[in-house]
Symmetry: C2
Subunit: 173 residues, 2 copies
């Protein structure tokens, strides 16, 4: 089985990085629990939204992101049993490209370069399963789609949902 | 029609960069005509091969590469009539990722980020046509394959061959 796995919000905690950068810049005290059902930029005062929406373009945003709980051990096992590819719609953020490659080298060294994809549209991917937090990526994928729970997508009921890597393990291993 | 177009040797003249860097470092006078049927590293003395094979890992190798003749105007027209994606197996060279993105911004601005793919294996691409200079990419692609002529592949007879962007235009436009 060919499995595509998104990066941000699925194996890398970009949402928390948004919160941390904002809290530090604006002396805030947001947590993920304050953000359910929203993109993080929608949680902050109007006058701060532009700043938050620019986060991902900055050098360093994707460096040293937290690793989503249990993603390493479950992906390592999935990679033994299936053809696993990391697929991130990273081309929007040129500064992220090497940071993402380095991050994968550090935290997912068992996924070699041949199994890594930095792309735009994901509907050009041919495989059996896509695990992603974004409905617009899952909508046009022809195989099975798993929506990985993230603060911004908790109200979406259009896809089979998984909320943890342990849940993915129980479904797929 | 979904068309995937490789970068190096197809729209970007990486082979000439190898030659230029080598000639400069070793006071050489190689031209492409000296290299027919070979990878460039196979053309140089044994003691220089390691140096040539390391070229693509260096910062700057993919910066300011020459643009393959007629590729811009033909791709701009193809992009109006079809769904064109640039697909480069760049993940092997992390230093190349932003250089490739910047290069596309400069020379192919009409191909936006959503239509750019930096990957490893290309058999995960789902589409109708792949234009590439590497037989190992074309072999596992399920659609139509066009082998773009490069010094290293002139002896390959396994694929439909194109030797210029004017030829691609006459086939596809």
């Amino acid at each position: 089985m060919i499995i595509f796995v998104d990066m941000d919000e699925v194996i890398a905690d970009a949402y928390q990085r948004h919160i941390d950068w904002y809290n530090q810049a604006f002396d805030g005290d947001f947590t993920k629990e304050d953000c359910l059902g929203k993109e993080f930029w929608q949680c902050v005062p109007d006058s701060h939204q532009k700043s938050v929406r620019a986060h991902a373009s900055h050098v360093g945003f994707f460096k040293d992101l937290g690793v989503m709980q249990n993603s390493q051990e479950v992906l390592e096992q999935l990679n033994r049993e299936h053809d696993v590819y990391i697929a991130s719609a990273a081309m929007q953020f040129p500064n992220s490209l090497k940071e993402k490659s380095d991050w994968l080298d550090e935290h997912f060294p068992f996924i070699p370069w041949k199994q890594r994809i930095l792309c735009g549209h994901k509907h050009i991917l041919k495989g059996d399963l896509l695990i992603d937090d974004r409905s617009y990526n899952l909508e046009n994928f022809k195989g099975r789609s798993l929506l990985f729970t993230s603060p911004h997508n908790i109200e979406n009921n259009d896809f089979e949902r998984v909320s943890s890597w342990k849940e993915i393990a129980s479904l797929l291993l």
